[in-house]
Symmetry: C2
């Protein structure tokens, strides 16, 4: 198919390899893989996981949960502090699937206990170092109060403790990531010891993409929830989670202008396509993507001497060596690996596989259409 506008290409073979490796790792560790679907947000990519017997998933909003519930998924964790304003939607979901929610504060548990009409598994978010959200692992007072409230409610079953180690994203060596992960698992196990008497079925859930990709031993928890691994991206390659060759998405962008004297190529592809997430370079400059060359069935590793260095709303500026500059002409499509594939996929609103198949992304489905589902 002839591409004419910025298009998010998806290499299905690479994607399936990424899925298979993570499924295999979970199996070897004897734990459940509950993949986070916020990265792809696609009915079709989701279906690929089913072929590997994945039947429980993670999402980050009620809207996403409804979308995947409508695709037949019926064991869904919304890994985001429950938004009590969406009680009606939560009830609708809880009436038809096994819904898992998350709480950080006692007030949330109180509101859920009052508003829910169907049983829900409620997990408690624990902060073991990321400091975004969650009850601090040693804050037993708050935990006691929250768990007491959960126990008192007929609609709430305590699921267990959930951690997201987002601070692994700042690391670039295995030892640092290992240390973060071990700390979290240790703190989670202390919590299990403390509360297992009261809640014999409580589970431990963890799992950012760096830890789950880099570490082999993921034992000590019941489930992992990585998401980004399905596509990976330049940030994950920098962290060490993947090689360039594992990155399964690439944005194809038209070349629309060239400025020879300063070696700059202007592409149709800006912050409304890539997002403004940048990757800092050694000289502390930043890049927004790296250029690859298209092959018969996909693309190469990133080429040296040519990078996406600036984004405005629809324009991207590529800086190129004289040799690379001359390879591209107005009207060519140029391939760019994104810095952060989750945000790029959300903005691109859909995929085209390297075999020419068009895949959906939730953000490309309009509100009107969602109501029809």
């Amino acid at each position: 198919m002839r591409l004419t506008t910025p298009t998010l290409l998806l290499d299905k073979k690479k994607c399936l390899n990424n899925i298979r490796r993570m499924v295999q790792k979970a199996k070897e560790n004897g734990i459940r893989l509950r993949p986070h679907f916020k990265t792809h947000q696609s009915a079709q990519v989701g279906a690929w996981f089913r072929e590997y017997n994945v039947d429980a998933i993670t999402v980050s909003s009620i809207k996403m949960a409804r979308y995947f519930a409508n695709q037949g998924w019926n064991d869904i964790l919304v890994a985001f502090p429950a938004n009590v304003l969406e009680m009606d939607s939560m009830n609708e979901l809880a009436s038809r699937i096994k819904l898992h929610l998350l709480a950080v504060n006692e007030e949330t548990v109180e509101a859920l206990a009052i508003g829910l009409k169907h049983p829900v598994n409620l997990w408690v978010k624990i902060d073991t170092g990321y400091r975004r959200t969650g009850v601090l692992a040693n804050n037993h007072t708050d935990l006691d109060n929250i768990l007491k409230k959960i126990k008192e409610s007929d609609m709430l079953t305590f699921g267990g403790f959930v951690v997201h180690d987002g601070h692994t994203y700042k690391q670039t060596d295995t030892y640092a990531i290992q240390t973060i992960h071990n700390t979290s698992v240790y703190l989670l196990q202390l919590l299990r010891e403390r509360y297992i008497g009261q809640f014999p079925d409580l589970q431990l859930s963890i799992g950012d993409t760096p830890s789950c990709s880099i570490l082999n031993n993921l034992s000590g928890v019941d489930e992992i929830r990585p998401g980004n691994f399905v596509f990976y991206d330049l940030m994950q390659q920098r962290i060490g989670s993947c090689s360039f060759d594992d990155i399964a998405v690439c944005v194809a962008c038209p070349v629309v202008a060239k400025h020879q004297k300063r070696g700059e190529i202007i592409i149709y592809g800006g912050s409304v396509h890539f997002s403004k997430d940048a990757l800092q370079q050694e000289d502390s400059s930043v890049i927004f993507g790296r250029v690859v060359e298209f092959t018969n069935d996909g693309w190469t590793a990133p080429v040296n001497g040519i990078e996406l260095v600036s984004l405005s709303q629809e324009h991207g500026i590529i800086k190129a060596s004289p040799e690379q500059f001359d390879r591209y002409h107005i009207g060519d499509m140029i391939g760019i690996l994104p810095v952060h594939s989750c945000l790029t996929a959300d903005l691109m609103k859909g995929y085209m596989t390297t075999d020419g198949e068009v895949l959906e992304h939730l953000s490309g489905v309009s509100q009107r259409e969602l109501k029809l589902l």
Copy 2:
């Protein structure tokens, strides 16, 4: 109406005031206002401009041009280097509206001359200092070659010279913005003098939001093309283009968690809602939005001691003074002025006016629906 998820609120009164002021300024200067519609991308907001007799518009993609052509706009400039891969769409548009395109390179003109089947007004993008894209104003060799190619084509009529002074966005004082604008107008007038003999109808088009908002005298050109002024945002307030009170959009976000010890409120509202555009503070920290309080018919100016300081995909972290922290509870909606309204609107995919009216944004219309238009 009861809001339950992140919602982009639009104060129609403020928006109409912003439109009216710019219309008035163009009138006083005796020049045409060709507003850039990439900021709102909304059929309904577009219609508000019609009431002020605006009949010519600017967009930044062919897709946007088609959307507004379908809404009855028939004089549209695509202010982006023509993407020659979209020849079929350009032809379709050129067959039914007065289409203006932009070129930076001779190769683009050649491809258009070959591919176009309907007449088009072709403008040349001039770079007067922004250094994103455009022919340098003193590069007469390239300009001579480009204009010769335009003249030779039956389908192309030379429209004139277009400048976008994006570097005004880095300024925060009137004098700097005045200097940038005067330089561009001067360089454009030199070009007019040089080419008016060959092209007696050539026009000069300029107009970023800072210059058009701050300067009173915009004479010396034929048209201005500001866009962001329709909503403004924190970045424009910082530059001096508007007051806080002129900012016509505000994101309402649910409070989903609270961390008292560190004074942090977690909202449902992240980079997929706001974009990652940040505003640097005096202490070189960055913020992603400022908090306002809702009133009966809109919202207040930003409150001190409470700011949106961090974003991940769906979470936002608000840092609050103890006093402000106590004002908000789980399940409340909190109002946040965005840093960059163009990107926020693109991500939010639609608006709700403070009167409860739902307005469309092009990014919320699916590909499927667009084909039906």
